[in-house]
């Protein structure tokens, strides 16, 4: 009987310490989400300005640029998958990887060879475990991505894109990341990064929103040469920031659920422990009473 109580006590104390860890992680995630979202909004002016400029150049000058040219047939494509470094974020990484798997299957069904680029240790582990080859992996800082990393990724994919397909280059680049919609919904998302689909500025009712006819310095081609890599970096960076915010939100939610479950468990075990203790007391009493009865009889 005593052994029973001890087992329950052990379970309660281990669950309590786990609950503390969950609480701490939840709090950390909560405090970081604010920062991550602030970074998302801090990068918006840059992204907006660059998108506007790129669409202005592309729609007005009608430059035929390799980055915007649609290839007639694409035989090789690259996919960048943004997952997290650490686990304990619920289904965050697995849902991104699932989305990525779907894209890979689809691309392969279209008869394309696929190069995989990864961001985040969880994605790396997933591919390593399955012995699948990857082109390049970046890890670290998935919850706080740096612009330098985005630049590195941008440069790497651009290099692959500029290469001939025969010598290992690619015709198109896809990006799989989790979009942060709100604190409760984050959706895995696939976008095609290259060739760029430059969104033509829509003519809105307000005339002030119309793009003026720009002069270019130096030439439109060179301006586009300078703008497009930056545009790609900014797109990659935006994706990484979205992914980071989503990761933290997913982690916060997962940790909240885990903490709630832990307190449920503690409650359950405490009841069982009390039951066992009461049973022990009752038994002892019965034994004493029985002993006394037999002595006095």
């Amino acid at each position: 009987m005593g052994a029973q109580i001890r087992v329950y006590r052990q379970k309660i104390s281990s669950t309590t310490s786990m609950q503390k860890i969950f609480k701490a992680m939840e709090l950390i995630a909560t405090s970081r989400i604010g920062k991550a979202r602030a970074r998302v909004s801090a990068s918006l002016p840059y992204a907006k300005a660059i998108t506007r400029a790129v669409s202005a150049v592309a729609s007005q000058s009608e430059v035929d640029h390799p980055l915007t040219r649609e290839p007639e047939t694409s035989t090789r494509s690259a996919v960048l998958i943004c997952a997290s470094d650490r686990g304990l974020a619920g289904s965050y990484s697995s849902s991104v990887l699932k989305e990525a798997e779907q894209l890979l299957t689809k691309l392969k069904a279209e008869g394309k060879e696929v190069d995989v680029y990864l961001y985040g240790r969880k994605a790396e582990a997933y591919f390593d475990f399955r012995n699948r080859t990857t082109k390049r992996v970046w890890t670290g800082n998935t919850d706080e991505p740096l612009f330098e990393t985005a630049k590195e990724i941008g440069a790497a994919v651009l290099e692959a894109f500029n290469q001939d397909t025969a010598s290992g280059g690619v015709d198109e680049i896809h990006l799989v990341f989790t979009q942060f919609k709100s604190m409760v919904t984050q959706e895995p998302n696939v976008v095609r990064l290259l060739p760029l689909e430059v969104v033509e500025e829509k003519v809105s009712e307000k005339t002030t929103d119309l793009l003026p006819l720009y002069e270019y310095e130096p030439e439109p081609e060179q301006v586009l040469d300078g703008l497009l890599p930056r545009y790609i970096d900014s797109r990659v960076f935006a994706a990484l920031l979205q992914a980071a915010a989503s990761e933290l939100a997913a982690r916060q939610r997962a940790m909240k659920t885990a903490g709630d479950n832990a307190s449920e468990l503690i409650k359950k075990y405490t009841r069982l422990r009390n039951n066992a203790r009461q049973a022990e007391i009752t038994q002892e009493l019965t034994e004493i009473v029985a002993g006394a009865d037999s002595l006095s009889a």
């Binding site: 300005a49 150049v57 612009f147 002030t208 720009y214 310095e217 301006v223 703008l227 930056r230 970096d233």
Partner: protein, 90 residues
Amino acid sequence: MAELDVEVVAADHFVWSGAARRVNAFTADGDIGVLPGHTPVIALLAAGRVEIEPTEGARVHISADGGFFSVENNRVTIVADDAVIVDAAS
């Protein structure tokens, strides 16, 4: 007099914004000075210093390392890969 509405942004943070009388910057071709009423322009920015003369206060110097800038309807947007204010008007 018309004034320029200036906004300076870097890749991951906002740098400076406000009304200004004049903006000087280095482009790939050379120096460019923007006064109110300038024709719309998109130019590549060379690494170097951007000088803004606000309507109030001292000049603001920003060191930028490449990027681009656009001018339209007296709106100047300077988009730099990285930019820091060297000495801000207090």
